[in-house]
Symmetry: C2
């Protein structure tokens, strides 16, 4: 056969969006989509378009290529693209998408533009999209796929299998399960594809179905559904609203949901409010808004350190060498706490630890902290002598660092679980928060040790 | 129909492993697996078993229930369970798994036990498992599934479709694509399930196939393959070794790979070396080993702050009030840098930004830093007056905090990209690292400002 023997790799893009515009025919869009199968790189090219270019590309999106492009890229990019078009064009493109795909892009569109776009949709499409938009962001409903196969309890297994085959022919995703519902929409159970093969063809599905499947509700947090899908290795979960089956959430979306949650946690752990838009699309004003709150709160909390320092003004004036170690001591305390909090917050996010594990966590962390404290005390002693500050200051520094490490470990082990207990996201126990808490209390530990061990301060 | 009208939810576990042992028949294991479909909770119960209990459970694992249990739980738990059994029992259980499932558990088993277990396997199984174990951890090969449908280029589309149907009957996962290979194993192309339906049944597959699919190699990093699967919305990627098709990596594993990478990044960002075992299974010694390296490195780096402080000993003795603001200034500098670094490291991990975006990133971050610097200078001025330190110290603190915020932003914007450029993981640009770098340099900025603006130090 006529096959080159060179290694098969990702093809280099043969055509970019600029050329697509120059060619000016829908076929050029298809060539570009084939040449650039990566949705993220498509999104980058789409974001880089000027408004008039965006309008010219939109005119070339006429059929399945619109869906291939707009349902594949992230919804923020899709929404920004649509906002640069005439509303009538944007509504035409939305009409080419499945209702849930249109809803995902519309959810990222601000009001009043969102409402105006929905009003411009065909009545049937608008009716399908409106209830989907009603689900809050980061809920199960925001990931709802309405396309699924549902049958009545008395349907035979053979009839259900035929419905699956019909569905597969019409849809681009193969159904995960067959859902058995009453005429009211109430879910009675479900059958896997294997159940369809194994059960006798003439028996009613209600005899072959799993009558107590795991379900989620549309208003629930998206992360819980994603974890259920991942932990049970399910292909889909049925989504209920007021007891009625309204659609399914698919394992295909688990990676995207968990990635989004991990990104938000990473940003919270860094002491910011989550950005919620791709980084390159965030303006300095948005970045300022997302960051300044925590920075200012922590600044105010950290002001306490000034009060502590002023309270020990006389000690600092008497033994100036004491101040040499302040950044080192509070820095190490913050670092120890950060290590613990980041590990625990992540273990909580992935469901590895729960509140009932607190005694084990505390035991483990305090034992580890004692090992770290010993190591650090030895290093601090060496450092103090190298700065030539005398035995008393050296002893003070070594004992203070050990105490600060253990105190910081206690704080960092308890805080994420306490915060979760209060119903908040443990990821807010960020590195800056831990540092701030340890800084002031660490200074008190340090000066208390100084008064105990330095004769000039007695 | 006989259906209760109560809402359908996760069934409460009807039976636990203790009862399974008491019942002592394989059927009890099946009841437990049905009652506890969550793989993570199964793993918890399995880890909590004493050695003699583990052995009794192992004796009840006789067929598909062994695979259902051991291939579903995380490989660390599976490995620890196997290590508590007699080697002959462990080898028997491994023999009930697919080769890649056995390899995953064995990869988490230390040497020499791993080699001994492989030697105890049936020769055919050992031969299948050994090459899989040769792939390094976190490589594509570690996630390789050897089961796939491959046909020769001259096979007809109808014959290929029959092979897919046969495969689906024998295997528990439906094939993602049909792979077209030469007799040598070289990959010529692939067909999607849709291609099989659309193409004429009597044409050879080589005419209907995609001749240049995206591929990965078995030695590559797992994260790249997971991102390709997620970004392209592929169901599988063909995995090559020396040009030959050795298996596939499935979209089913994307969530697990990305979760593992996110966990490692979160731990690095907290200033630790990744744990690589579930948190509750980590001993204090392991935690100490994973944490002490960075803590000690940062301690040594932070020692520099003592040198800086001693260099400005006279200034500190003359104006003791200067020391009041040290924790506040360096804390805020560290927090600003941490916010930026954590956002950038995550944006790099998810592929949102690359080196070529550096100018845009710097522009965005420096503009944001100026906004934050202005806000912080105003707050610092207010705080300085509230501590009653006089105009000159207040001015010094306000200007120093603005300069430190901008300096920290510059450092935190550049560092993750520079580290990536050096071929290292940008996640090592942790909050503790940024704080440590900003502490010493921030002090120099502060004392320089003090000498400029405080007349007593001129």
């Amino acid at each position: 056969m006529a096959k080159s023997k060179t290694p098969i790799t990702t093809p280099a893009p043969l055509i970019d969006l600029g050329e697509v515009i120059a060619l000016g025919v829908p076929r050029a869009v298809e060539l570009w989509l084939r040449a650039e199968p990566n949705h993220r790189r498509r999104a980058e090219q789409l974001s880089d378009l000027k408004s008039d270019q965006a309008r010219r590309v939109a005119d070339l999106l006429t059929g399945p290529n619109a869906r291939e492009l707009l349902a594949g890229v992230d919804p923020v990019t899709a929404a920004r693209f649509l906002l640069r078009l005439a509303p009538v064009t944007a509504a035409r493109l939305l009409g080419l998408l499945a209702p849930e795909e249109a809803a995902r892009a519309l959810r990222e569109t601000p009001q009043p533009e969102r409402g105006q776009l929905v009003d411009q949709l065909q009545p049937a499409q608008a009716e399908a999209v409106r209830p989907l938009l009603a689900w809050p962001p980061e809920s199960v409903g925001a990931w709802l796929t309405t396309a699924h196969v549902s049958v009545r309890p008395q349907t035979t297994v053979a009839q259900a299998a035929r419905q699956v085959a019909d569905h597969a022919r019409l849809s681009d995703r193969s159904p995960g399960y067959v859902y058995v519902t009453e005429a009211t929409g109430e879910l009675c159970g479900l059958l896997s594809m294997r159940d369809l093969v194994v059960a006798p063809g003439d028996s009613p599905v209600e005899r072959a179905m799993n009558p107590a499947p795991v379900v989620v509700t549309a208003a629930e947090d998206q992360e819980r559904a994603a974890r259920l899908l991942a932990d049970h290795h399910f292909r889909e979960l049925p989504v209920l609203d007021a007891g009625r089956l309204v659609g399914v959430i698919s394992a295909d979306d688990v990676a995207a949901i968990l990635e989004q949650e991990s990104t938000e946690d990473a940003e919270r752990q860094g002491g910011s409010t989550p950005l919620e838009v791709p980084y390159l699309q965030a303006s300095p004003w948005l970045l300022w808004r997302k960051r300044v709150v925590w920075i200012a709160v922590l600044f105010v909390a950290e002001m306490y350190t000034g009060t502590v320092m002023r309270a020990y003004e006389d000690e600092l004036a008497t033994v100036v060498a004491l101040s040499f170690f302040i950044p080192l001591l509070i820095g190490t305390g913050g670092n120890t706490g950060t290590q613990i909090a980041s590990t625990l917050v992540r273990a909580m996010a992935t469901g590895q630890i729960r509140l009932r594990d607190l005694p084990r966590i505390l035991g483990k962390e305090l034992a580890t902290a004692c090992l770290i404290a010993g190591t650090m005390a030895a290093l601090a002693l060496a450092r103090a002598y190298s700065l030539g500050v005398g035995h008393q200051v050296a002893l003070t520094v070594a004992l203070a660092i050990a105490a600060i490490v253990i105190w910081s470990a206690l704080l960092a082990s308890l805080l994420p679980l306490v915060i979760r207990r209060l119903g908040l996201d443990p990821a807010v126990v960020s590195s800056p928060l831990i540092s701030t808490l340890v800084d002031g209390t660490g200074l008190i530990i340090y000066f208390t040790a100084a008064k105990l061990f330095i004769s000039a301060l007695a």
